[in-house]
């Protein structure tokens, strides 16, 4: 070995030299080992930090579909014309060369040089300080971009402009991303693609834009999105740049946001020392979100909303259509409704004012977010309590047109006369139900209410639901007077319900006493379905409760409800549908203010059909200030919905809601 040869030789000076060189080389080796092997990770991270910019790419949001695959919410591609500044560096340099400040100076040349033909006048570049240089370079770049955009604006026949401020902030903060110029509609896209020679650096970027093709239809169920670029908890927390993303706020969009939004992807952009984009690489693809399939039927939903809106644009009300065997909701309509599209596209000032109108309150989901007095439709529950208390339905009560409870006189819309259960029900006689309700006792009524889970939420759309109010057993035992019971027998007083609860009650009458969980989400499935096991189903839940009343009682109530629609003198006559035996109950509750003045009415019609083998429950609720009766206003709306259902059944050749 060469080294050891040296060490063996008897030359002390050279030996020392050999050892010194060897030591020096070993020091370098150790240093390199330290830097390249031990600290490699540290320096690689530094490299990544300075040379890579991570970009968060939002995933394609899942769709919301109705039971037949009809689209309630989807994504529309939105094309954005963007300019990649790194492709413009030639232009920047050219513009810089052209516009670099110069001065013409006259040099004092010696005579002989002038004689030789040297020109004393020459143009020289002005020497710039660093700040001047930077400012001038920024101006130059802006001018180059501005010229390009101006030319583009002419060729696309579309006014485009980039302000200096926008440009500078983009240049300093988002250089690795394209500079967005305009959103493209089909017209601009066509012109853009027609051009044979568009300048380098122009590119179309696609951003998914949430779209609700039916506008305000089922808006309260769907909810809406708000702009939110933040990372979800299972993603990378740090990104250099984030592309626009949205988060569901209320309704299905909010509740199932985790399923719908998918998983954002990561793109890394390699940038050079000046920050210009060099290349791009997808580190992880965005995983598209899942589709949520609802139990709603788009046609019935629209029919319900149209029926409610038939009273005019300022109509306020709610409609619930439910399958009585399963609790599946076919329609859950609340008017007035907002257009969820506006929240992603930007809300105008006028629209915002409209959204905040105190009387209309379009953002309120009237099917379950408001407390209402049920009025006479609560007589269904009172009837259950009375019949279960053993009151003979054939026993007649004379009713003079009013009754006294304590010292209070209660007027009645039903004409004076003799009333048994059947007549009392179809004329909605307050006298009959108050008298018999007082006989049955408040405790029975409250127990029926508890079986119906009044005063409790269904949990269908958390945040959009109020529990309503039902007095507890303690409350009726202390300080309760018969007048309170009388009020409840008329569906007023210390009782409030939501339309959804009343629909559940009606379904329970129709299906033989099962108090069901209303069901809205059928299943969650991938956007591209490969195998059936990727589907997450939300099966029909077992009934929440049973009424625990005798079949005879239920049959009596069902018969009374049929008569209310079909018999002469019934209040629900206007809901009569040829070919479908509708059974119903009307109601008109009075709304009084703090000074006990009448300020409006809540009009009701609740129903199920067909009488023989009930499949659907339809509930209509309308708020008015001008009076009116449930039988006059709501029953015709229910009729329209039933007609739509009949039409659908006829078209599909099968029943919508299969009876088990």
């Amino acid at each position: 070995m060469m080294i050891f040869d040296q060490l063996k030789k008897n030359e002390p000076h050279l030996r020392v030299l050999t050892v010194s060189v060897l030591a020096g080389m070993l020091v370098l080796l150790a240093g390199l080992w330290w830097v390249q092997v031990i600290s490699c990770r540290h320096y690689s991270e530094n490299l990544r930090a300075q040379a890579f910019r991570t970009v968060r790419i939002p995933a394609i949001r899942g769709k919301i579909l109705d039971r037949n695959g009809g689209v309630l919410a989807e994504n529309q591609p939105q094309y954005v014309l963007g300019l990649y500044l790194d492709e413009l560096r030639d232009r920047f340099q050219a513009e810089w060369a052209r516009s670099r400040p110069r001065v013409t100076v006259t040099n004092r040349l010696p005579a002989w040089k002038r004689w030789l033909g040297f020109n004393p006048v020459s143009t020289v570049r002005v020497k710039l300080s660093k700040q001047e240089y930077m400012a001038h370079a920024a101006q130059t770049r802006y001018r180059a971009v501005s010229n390009l955009v101006h030319g583009l604006s002419r060729s696309l026949n579309q006014p485009l402009a980039v302000s200096y401020g926008e440009f500078v902030s983009h240049y300093t903060e988002q250089l690795a991303l394209p500079l967005p110029l305009t959103n493209c509609d089909h017209r601009i896209m066509a012109r853009f693609f027609e051009q044979t020679s568009s300048p380098r650096g122009l590119d179309l970027d696609v951003h998914p834009q949430r779209s609700y093709p039916h506008g305000p239809t089922a808006a309260h169920v769907l909810g809406f999105l708000v702009r939110d670029n933040r990372s979800a908890s299972d993603e990378l927390a740090f990104f250099n740049y984030r592309l626009p993303d949205y988060r569901g706020r209320v309704g299905i969009e909010g509740l199932y946001d985790g399923h719908l939004r998918g998983k954002a992807g990561v793109k890394s952009v390699l940038v050079n020392s000046l920050g210009y984009r060099q290349s791009e690489q997808i580190w992880s693809e965005a995983e598209p979100g899942l589709n949520v399939v609802l139990t709603l039927d788009l046609i019935i939903q629209k029919a319900a909303e149209d029926a409610l809106r038939s009273r005019g644009p300022d109509a306020r009300g709610a409609a619930v259509v439910m399958e009585v065997r399963t609790g599946n909701l076919l329609a859950l309509a609340s008017v007035p409704a907002f257009d969820p599209n506006v929240f992603t596209q930007g809300v105008s000032h006028d629209y915002m004012n409209w959204l905040n109108t105190p009387k209309l309150r379009p953002q309120i989901n009237r099917t379950m977010q408001e407390n209402y007095a049920p009025g006479s439709i609560f007589k269904i529950a009172i009837a259950l309590a009375c019949l279960e208390a053993g009151i003979d339905p054939r026993q007649k009560i004379y009713h003079p047109g009013y009754i006294y409870v304590g010292r209070r006189q209660i007027d009645d819309l039903a004409p004076a006369g003799e009333y048994d259960f059947h007549r009392g029900f179809i004329h909605s006689s307050n006298a009959y139900f108050v008298t018999n309700g007082l006989r049955a006792g408040i405790e029975r009524i409250v127990r029926i209410g508890q079986k119906l889970h009044l005063g409790q939420r269904t949990g269908l759309l958390p945040g959009q639901e109020t529990p309503g109010y039902l007095p507890g057993l303690n409350e009726i035992r202390t300080g309760w007077i018969p007048g309170d019971t009388a009020n409840i027998c008329m569906g007023q007083g210390r009782l409030s319900v939501t339309p959804l609860q009343m629909a559940v009650m009606t379904a329970a009458i129709a299906n033989g006493g099962k108090v069901l969980w209303p069901r809205l989400v059928d299943r969650i499935e991938p956007q591209r379905l490969h195998t059936p096991d990727q589907v997450e189903r939300y099966p029909v839940r077992p009934p929440r409760d049973t009424l625990g009343v005798s079949p005879r009682t239920l049959a009596l109530v069902r018969e009374a409800m049929r008569a209310d629609v079909e018999d002469e003198g019934g209040t629900g006559r206007l809901a009569f549908v040829p070919g479908l035996r509708v059974c119903g109950k009307t109601g008109t509750a009075q709304i009084t203010n703090a000074r006990n003045e009448l300020v409006g009415n809540t009009l009701w019609f609740t129903s199920f059909a067909p009488f023989e083998q009930p499949r659907y429950a339809v509930l209509i609720m309308v708020e008015t200030e001008t009076g009116g009766y449930g039988g006059m206003v709501c029953a015709p709306m229910a009729k329209k919905i039933y007609e739509t259902i009949l039409e659908l059944e006829r078209q599909q050749g099968a029943v919508l809601a299969r009876t088990p």
């Binding site: 000076h13 060189v21 080389m25 830097v35 390249q36 092997v37 320096y43 490299l47 050079n272």
Partner: protein, 403 residues
Amino acid sequence: MFDTPLKEHEAKVDWSLISALAGLMLIGAFFVASATSGNESSSSPAWYNQAWLRQIVWYALGMAAAAAVCLVDYRVWARWSLVIYWGTVLLLGAVLIPGIGSTHGWGARRWIDLGPLGFQPSEFAKLALILALANFLSRPRDELQTPGTFWKAIGMMTLPFVLVFKEPDLGSALILIPITLTMLYVAGVPKRHINRLIGSAGVLIALLLVDILFAPPQWQIKLEDYQRRRLLVYFGQDGVPAGASAEQRQKARREMRNYSYNVDQALISVGSGGIWGKGWRNGTQNALGYLPPAVAHNDFIFSVIAEEKGFVGSVVVLALFSVVLFSGIRIAGQARDRLGNLLAVGVVAMLFSHVFINVGMNIRLMPVTGLPLPLLSYGGSSVLSSLIATGIWQNVFLYRRAY
């Protein structure tokens, strides 16, 4: 002097040296190509103007020059050493005159333009000093013991040192010191002289550093701004006077960051290379311009190699240099006389100092001094002087048995 008598079939050429040099030159050509290929300029020069080709041309010229050196016995060269020495000193003086010396657009005046090419006399001053010192020190042993000889030798070093320092080229000036010291030591100058010299030089350097790093501005020795900054960067100082306002301090820090930029980027290049490297021409630091294109192919060529070929590549480079250096030491041992011995030792000292300082600078072991890596860094003068230096070895090797 030799353990084994020379035989007729003894080699005329030191093959291990030649192959190690060839390996280094090959690496040099490839990585100069890699370091200049990623340059941001949109128009790359024509093929005949590419840096790697120019480098190869310089290699060819250098080898020709080395061969020319071998034509004549080194003792003949030694006879002319004083002429060569004074000629170089003259050139060094001439560089300082603005009309003759050129700055090539940099701050320092180091080049003499000869038509289209420029050359740096400081590169050749090292060789001239080695030749002159070897000649001067190959005198009878008892003469070497006198302080007069010692101080004359120091004087011979000081003259070019001052001139090179004036250019200013601190690195090339400082490198004359280890060359001289090594040659004095090997020649057998009494240890106490050398120790005294090293001691006083150490004290001087310490004082200088303390002055630069800690003294108030009016007390500081006038150094070029960038030289002072390089030292401050190396010692991790921000160079802000004690009484400075927060704003001044911030400004100085920012400037400091700018100045330490090259070193930081070189470290990132070397460190991110890891064990196996990213592959030839796949290094991002250089291609994306983080490692400034102005220095990537010369002073910082080692970080390009280290990034693209990793620790393995660095070890290969170091191993090749080790082969070269130990061959040099062996040649020194085989030299016929003290003149040959000292010549070989001087070249060893010169090349080793370059390698150590340059590689050390790439991993922040040494301050930035702008010394090239022999044979690998792009640059005609450096390549020429390195190859001529190895030519001197070859010369000593070739005439080792002619006594």
